[in-house]
Structures are given as structure tokens and as C-alpha cells.
């Protein structure tokens, strides 16, 4: 041990390595990172015989690993950004360059990583695993984030148990493991993020950062959608797969946030960015959303009316009225069974139409075929009304031959019924229980939130949850990874808002109590002086 005022002479490590790089022992991690990445780049070049893309992809993989271990919250932002920007399904005609990134595919399907022995995992799942590992490591070392209870813990546990039970039951009934995992993957992602986000995002600063990421990613998508809409000759939804995709959910989030910052006065830089981007978001939403999205948005906006403070309600209603009138007029023109044949021509491309019985085998999106699916479900439910069929079990459909259709084509648009079929009454009950409890708790918390920004975020979360609950009657949202991950991320912010609110309220109460105490002392002194 060196005496005070005397430091050891610098060793060879400091003299020959750190000092030439302008580093010292406090920041020598930079040297090790340079060493690691340099070594990795050289090895990748040698292994791939000079292929720069393999070398860069390996570097990217290691960068994500290092980032996740050092900062799980930054890694979560990266995950959210990737989920919004990349597409789960390849959409024909939609040549947005990030759509070609295989973030949701199995690792072995990505050419640059095909040599890795990880064929059961996707890049997304590896990212999840890393975030979980880093978070649990930090929690166990009590370094950084602290353990936070999740909202609606009892319904969450019941839902998780029913989903796992349904997977095990389906596989036991000679079901396929791969199909079971495929069917339940999005729900499992949601449950994982619902649990993990409270352990990572714990302050207002982190919530703001998360929303900056969300705004950036959705803006990029919205701007590209506007470009695509103009380029495609102003035709709404000329690609059937784009209509009703998860992109509408992200745009709705930003739309509601934009409406919120106008209605409720808040001083935040995000307000001006949102206002500037709102027209693009509106056009993007129009370009990708079908009528079901408008309907779900209308229900969500009606819920939002309940949540707006009484002082801002008038401004909100005035703001929203022109849009409501436009939606009503639009729907009256395009969806009514009237004589507006010419106007209906474009809409006919995206609408599900009634088909004749002999055609329904060919068109699995037709309305008649949806009826056939419902009939099959009711038939299967009569056979196993309480516990359902389980995930992964290939149930025989009465009306349609199983040889004709894939598993995906048998899934009904109405996801409540699909969940009822797969996880039985306990599964659907637990799902409804979790979401209604969450809604009630979030709205209850809203009355205590004093920070206007956090109030807006909480309102946006409530509206998005309602939107998702309604849209899942029309689109298989419980199978879409991106929408379920996004939902899990947003719902997981509740504990951070709760903690920040009550921390502030607690401080406010404390200072008020102190003030009262001081006032009390002053009064006592005055009384004693009077008597003396």
C-alpha cells in the first residue's frame, strides 16, 4: 500500500499501452473494447476469407452483446427500434429496405450467421435472452436497477400458467412442439416483456428516452409510408398484406400522443416534434389502415374522452370533431351498400367480400371463409368446451379438409375465439382478467399522476391497450410478434410511472408536513410569548 501523497510508478501496461492511447486506469475499458473488436474483426476476415459483410455482422452481434451487458436499458431501446422498423412478414410491393432484415427469422435463415448452431432461436430471441441475462445479473449484484413488482401480478400469473398449461396439454395430445411454439410465441414475448420492462425502465428519464426511440422509429416508418403512398398513385392499401398489419398500431400510438400533447398542455420537446410529424402520421395511418382500424381507433378515442381532464375536454372535443366527421363521411361513402359503385372500386381491393361457396377454398380471406372458421371452432369447442385443444394440436375441421389449408389459414380473425379454442375457458378468462385489471389500475393511477408528461404517457398506454383489445377481433394480433412486443413494452411502464408519481407525492407530503410543523411551532411560540 502506498503512503499518502505518494503514488506507485506507472507499470509497463500504463506506460506502453494506455498512455500512447491517451487513456488511464479509470477508462482502460476502452482499450479492452478496441482490443476485442479488433481481434474479432481480424478473426472474421480470416474465417470468411475476406468477406466484409460476415466480418461486419459478427462485429454487430458482439456490439449488441457488449451493449446489453453494460446497459440493458439501451439494449431495450434498440430492441424496440428494431421491432418497429423491421417487418415480421415480407410484404410484396413494400420495398422498405429494413423490411429485408431477418430479425424475426431463425438465426440459420440469416446467411451471415448460418454457421452458428442456433437453429431454434431467432435474432430477436437471442436479444431477449441477452437482456434477461444482463438484467438478472444487475439485479442479483444490486447494481443499477432494483426489483420492481409487476402490475396486476395475480392475473398475470394466472394467464402465464394457463398459456404454459395449454402448450403442455397440446403437446401431450400428440401436438407438434414447433407448431405449439409458433402459435404461442407472440403471447410469450408479451408476457416476458410485461415482466422484464419494469426491471429495466425505472425512471422518467428512461421513459422519455424510450418514447424518443418510439417517435424516431415510427416517424421513419410514417415518412416511408407517405412516400410509398404517393408512389403507388394514392391508392390506399394496394398491398393486401400491408393493410391491417402491425404498423397501424405504432401509428395509432403516435397519433394519440400527438392529440394528447395538443389537448393537455405540457412543456416538452417531444410536443413540437410530434406536432411537426402529425400530418405524416395521419397520411401513413390512412395508407395502411383498414376500416377495422378506424373502428378500433374510434372506440379508443371514446375511452380517451373519459381520461382527458375536465379542463382540456372541450379543447379535445373541438380538435377531434373534424376527424370524426371525416371518418363518418368516409365510412358512409365507402362501406355502405349504396349506388356509389365507382367509389367502391378501390375499396373493393381491400375489403373482404362475400364469395360463393365454390370459391371459398381459394380465398381464405373472404368473409364467408371467416364464417366457416367460426363454425369449425364452435364445433371443436363442443367437443372440448372447458380446456380447449391446447397449442400445437392439429384439430380436424369439419367443413374444410385439413389437407387444403396450413395451420395459419385455419386461425380465425377473431383472436378471442382462437384463444378460447386453444387455451380453453381458463385461458380466455385469464386474458380478459389481466387486461381489464390493468386498465382499471392504470386509470386509477391516472388520478394521482401530477406530472403532465407521465399523465400523457399513461393515457397513451390505456388507449393502446383498448385499441389492441378491439382490433384483435378483426386481425390475428395475438400471433403478431411486433404488436405483442410493443404492447408488452408499453404496459411494462406502469411501475415506473407509479413509482415516480408516489415518490413525488411522498416528497410533496413530506415538505407539506414539515411546513405544517414549522407553522405549528411558530403559533406555539406566539401563544407562549403572549402568555409570558
Amino acid at each position: 500500500m502506498s503512503a499518502p501523497g505518494y503514488s506507485n510508478p506507472p507499470g509497463w501496461y500504463s506506460r506502453f499501452i494506455l498512455e500512447p492511447l491517451g487513456l488511464n486506469k479509470e477508462n482502460d475499458v476502452v482499450f479492452w473494447l478496441i482490443f476485442l473488436f479488433g481481434g474479432l474483426l481480424l478473426c472474421s476476415f480470416w474465417y470468411s476469407q475476406g468477406n466484409i459483410w460476415i466480418a461486419l455482422s459478427s462485429l454487430l452481434l458482439v456490439s449488441v452483446v457488449v451493449l446489453t451487458i453494460l446497459r440493458a436499458d439501451y439494449s431495450l431501446y434498440l430492441l424496440l427500434f428494431s421491432v418497429i422498423i423491421f417487418e415480421q412478414f415480407r410484404i410484396p410491393g413494400f420495398d422498405f429496405f429494413p423490411s429485408h432484415v431477418s430479425y424475426f427469422s431463425s438465426i440459420t435463415e440469416i446467411p451471415y450467421f448460418s454457421y452458428l448452431p442456433l437453429n431454434i432461436f431467432s435474432a430477436l430471441e437471442l436479444h431477449f435472452l441477452l437482456i434477461c441475462f444482463s438484467t438478472f445479473l444487475m439485479l442479483s449484484l444490486k447494481f443499477g436497477p432494483r426489483w420492481r413488482p409487476i402490475p396486476a401480478a395475480i392475473p398475470y400469473t394466472i394467464f402465464l400458467t394457463t398459456i404454459i398449461g395449454a402448450i403442455v396439454y397440446g403437446i401431450q395430445k400428440s401436438g407438434s412442439i414447433s407448431i405449439a411454439l409458433w402459435e404461442s410465441r407472440a403471447i410469450l414475448y408479451f408476457l416476458l416483456l410485461y415482466f422484464m420492462v419494469p426491471q429495466i425502465i425505472q425512471s422518467k428519464r428512461q421513459i422519455r428516452a424510450l418514447f424518443w426511440i418510439l417517435i424516431t422509429a415510427v416517424s421513419i416508418k410514417a415518412l416511408y409510408l407517405v412516400y410509398w403512398y404517393i408512389n403507388s398513385g394514392y391508392l390506399q392499401g394496394n398491398s393486401h398484406m400491408l393493410i391491417g398489419s402491425e404498423n397501424a398500431l405504432f401509428l395509432v400510438t403516435m397519433l394519440v400522443m400527438g392529440i394528447s400533447v395538443i389537448s393537455i398542455s405540457v412543456k416538452d420537446k417531444q410536443k413540437w416534434v410530434l406536432l411537426a410529424l402529425l400530418p405524416f402520421v395521419l397520411i401513413g395511418f390512412y395508407a395502411v389502415a383498414a376500416e377495422v382500424a378506424y373502428f378500433s381507433l374510434a372506440v379508443s378515442i371514446a375511452v380517451f374522452c373519459f381520461l382527458v381532464p375536465a379542463t382540456a375536454r372541450k379543447r379535445f372535443i373541438l380538435l377531434i370533431s373534424p376527424f370524426l366527421i371525416a371518418v363518418v363521411v368516409y365510412s358512409a361513402i365507402f362501406t355502405g351498400s349504396n349506388e356509389w359503385v365507382d367509389l367502391r372500386k378501390e375499396q373493393a381491393k381491400i375489403e373482404s367480400m362475400w364469395k360463393k361457396a365454390e370459391q371459398f377454398f381459394a380465398d381464405v380471406d373472404s368473409k364467408l371463409y371467416q364464417e366457416v372458421k367460426l363454425y369449425n371452432i364452435s364445433d371443436l369447442l363442443r367437443e372440448s368446451p372447458i380446456i380447449g385443444t391446447g397449442f400445437g394440436y392439429k384439430a380436424e375441421h369439419k367443413v374444410v379438409s385439413t389437407d387444403v389449408l396450413t395451420v395459419r389459414e385455419k386461425i380465425p380473425q377473431n383472436q378471442s375465439l382462437w384463444l378460447l379454442l386453444k387455451a380453453g375457458i381458463p385461458g380466455l378468462l385469464a386474458f380478459t382478467f389481466l387486461f381489464t385489471t390493468y386498465l382499471a389500475k392504470a386509470v386509477k393511477l391516472l388520478s394521482s399522476v401530477t406530472d403532465p408528461y407521465l399523465g400523457i404517457i399513461l393515457r397513451v398506454i390505456v388507449v393502446v391497450v383498448v385499441y389492441q383489445l378491439i382490433i384483435q377481433f378483426f386481425e390475428p394480433q395475438l400471433l403478431y410478434y411486433r404488436s405483442m412486443i410493443f404492447l408488452g413494452c408499453l404496459m411494462g411502464l406502469y411501475p415506473a410511472i407509479n413509482k415516480t408519481t408516489f415518490k413525488k407525492t411522498g416528497t410533496a407530503n413530506k415538505s407539506k408536513a414539515k411546513q405544517n410543523r414549522l407553522e405549528g411551532r411558530a403559533v406555539n411560540n406566539k401563544i407562549s410569548k403572549t402568555f409570558n
Binding site: 372506440v299 371459398f360 367460426l374 367443413v399 380466455l428 382478467f433 381489464t436 382499471a440 389500475k441
Partner: protein, 57 residues
């Protein structure tokens, strides 16, 4: 359609429970009751589904 309307009704009930319900008590029992009623309604509706009209409207 009936199932959708019932769900919207339950969503509004949950929001109202959060807004004007008892602040000190957990909403868990009321939401459980709402969910039970909704699921019972959905099960009855789907099990009693009538055979489809293959020719369309």
C-alpha cells in the same frame, strides 16, 4: 358482433371502475366478475352458433 359489443362494454366498465371506483380498494374482484360474465357470454354465443349459409347473403 354481439361478442365485440360485449367486449367494448366490459372495456368501458373497467375504465369506469378505475376512474370512479373505490380508490383504496383493488379493482381485482370487480374485474374478475366482469371477465367471468364476458367469457360466459362468449362461450354461450359460440357454442350455440347456427350452421352457416354457404351461399352468402
Amino acid at each position: 358482433m354481439e361478442i365485440l359489443l360485449a367486449t367494448i362494454f366490459v372495456v368501458f366498465l373497467a375504465v369506469i371502475r378505475g376512474k370512479i371506483g373505490h380508490k383504496a380498494r383493488s379493482p381485482i374482484f370487480s374485474t374478475l366478475l366482469m371477465s367471468l360474465l364476458l367469457v360466459a357470454f362468449i362461450v354461450v354465443m359460440i357454442i350455440n352458433k347456427e350452421p352457416i349459409n354457404m351461399q352468402g347473403p
